[in-house]
Point group: C2
Chain length 202, copies 2
DNA sequence: GAGTTACGCTACGATACAGTAGCGTAGCGA
DNA sequence: TCGCTACGCTACTGTATCGTAGCGTAACTC
């Protein structure tokens, strides 16, 4: 019963290549619109025109526009890569932050981030999606810090969540708000400043 | 000639109370819409309906919608307050950051910030407005840091712009992106961590 | 091969928005 | 008081969007 009234729930695992193709084309077009013109520009008609998929087909596969925007953003994400957990903490932190900076300055999903940040302000579903995504990405940083604390490289009284915020907050701030320089040298400065206060053997 | 073809340029200093009243009502309604529903929801028809001012009057006073959104945001801002430049640097920094946190968690303009951040992504005029606004607000922090460096309270090799980013970046990050706790205790943690690495007499 | 199903196409009705024109009124300022 | 002007109102044109319905076709599954 639920599968007949909500066929779109199963669309993702559909074996029918027609569904797979149209779904991919729809998500690609939706993601492009999201990147280029923001969340409010992701319209069903626009997706249809751009993807070549009929409007009716889009409505058949998704029951709400916000669900579609959600999926479009998800389709842009690469799976999080795991970082090696050896080496001095300074190198580990740079190995974490430099890809973040690269992503925020050149990846596709980065262009959607401001749109989603704004959409999250008024759309609880979107907020949950975004925060869930970020929480996953942050887990690498948290475990890296915990390990360094256990090894005695960092002060044992660090609050991990706050430390992570201090490391990545300045990066997001420059990307989203101030537009100031965002490069590897800046990452090195952040890490320097952080370790100067957080390292045990300063 | 310029005043007759572009009367809206002078509207701000108009002595005609009719203009003053309608302008205020329009900006109030536009700001409300901006806060409640984002930048793309600020429509002329919506402002007219909400403010009770005729659509034609709005078009008479503003020549573009983005200019109106601009002015609506500006109308929300309180003039920047000047901070006392005495006392230890820790107190000065907290005196700067706590009002920022308060503003970002409870002021009207804070609700418009995510919308403007997103709009800035694709609207150069809006970007310039937002960055100009932030630059003005940051100047307090910059001069405070410079004075403390001159007094010898902070390391003389600090890069002021990067130091400011490290202080306020985490705050904006939590407000815009992660949604984690944002209170005075967090400010104290930021300042602690910053001074642990930046103070001369650590 | 036969039945099923996803698709494209066209055509809706409804709503919302931009932006403009004309006209009469009421408030303002000198 | 009298002229000026900002205003409100109505009525447009034109565009874009939503979401749905019906129908024929082509692709896929078994």
């Amino acid at each position: 019963m639920s599968s007949s009234s909500h066929p779109q729930v199963l669309a993702e695992e559909s074996r029918d290549p027609r569904v797979v193709r149209s779904r991919a084309a729809i998500l690609r077009a939706a993601a492009d619109l999201l990147i280029e013109s923001g969340a409010s520009a992701v319209t069903i008609g626009g997706i249809s025109e751009r993807s070549g998929v009929a409007k009716t087909t889009i409505y058949r596969q998704w029951k709400s526009r916000s669900q579609l925007v959600f999926d479009a953003f998800e389709s842009l994400l690469a799976p999080a890569t795991h970082i090696s957990e050896s080496g001095p903490i300074r190198q580990q932190l740079e190995a974490l932050l430099i890809p973040l900076v690269r992503g925020l300055t050149s990846s596709e999903w980065a262009l959607a981030v401001p749109a989603l940040v704004d959409a999250s302000e008024r759309d609880p579903e979107m907020r949950q999606l975004l925060r869930g995504f970020l929480a996953g990405r942050k887990e690498n940083g948290r475990s890296t810090l915990r390990a360094a604390m256990a090894r005695g490289e960092l002060r044992p009284d660090l609050v991990v969540d706050e430390a992570v915020t201090m490391l990545i907050g300045p990066i997001y701030y420059r990307r989203l708000v101030s537009g100031e320089t965002l490069d590897e040298r800046f990452v090195a400065e952040i890490v320097d400043q952080f370790l100067r206060g957080a390292a045990r053997t300063s």
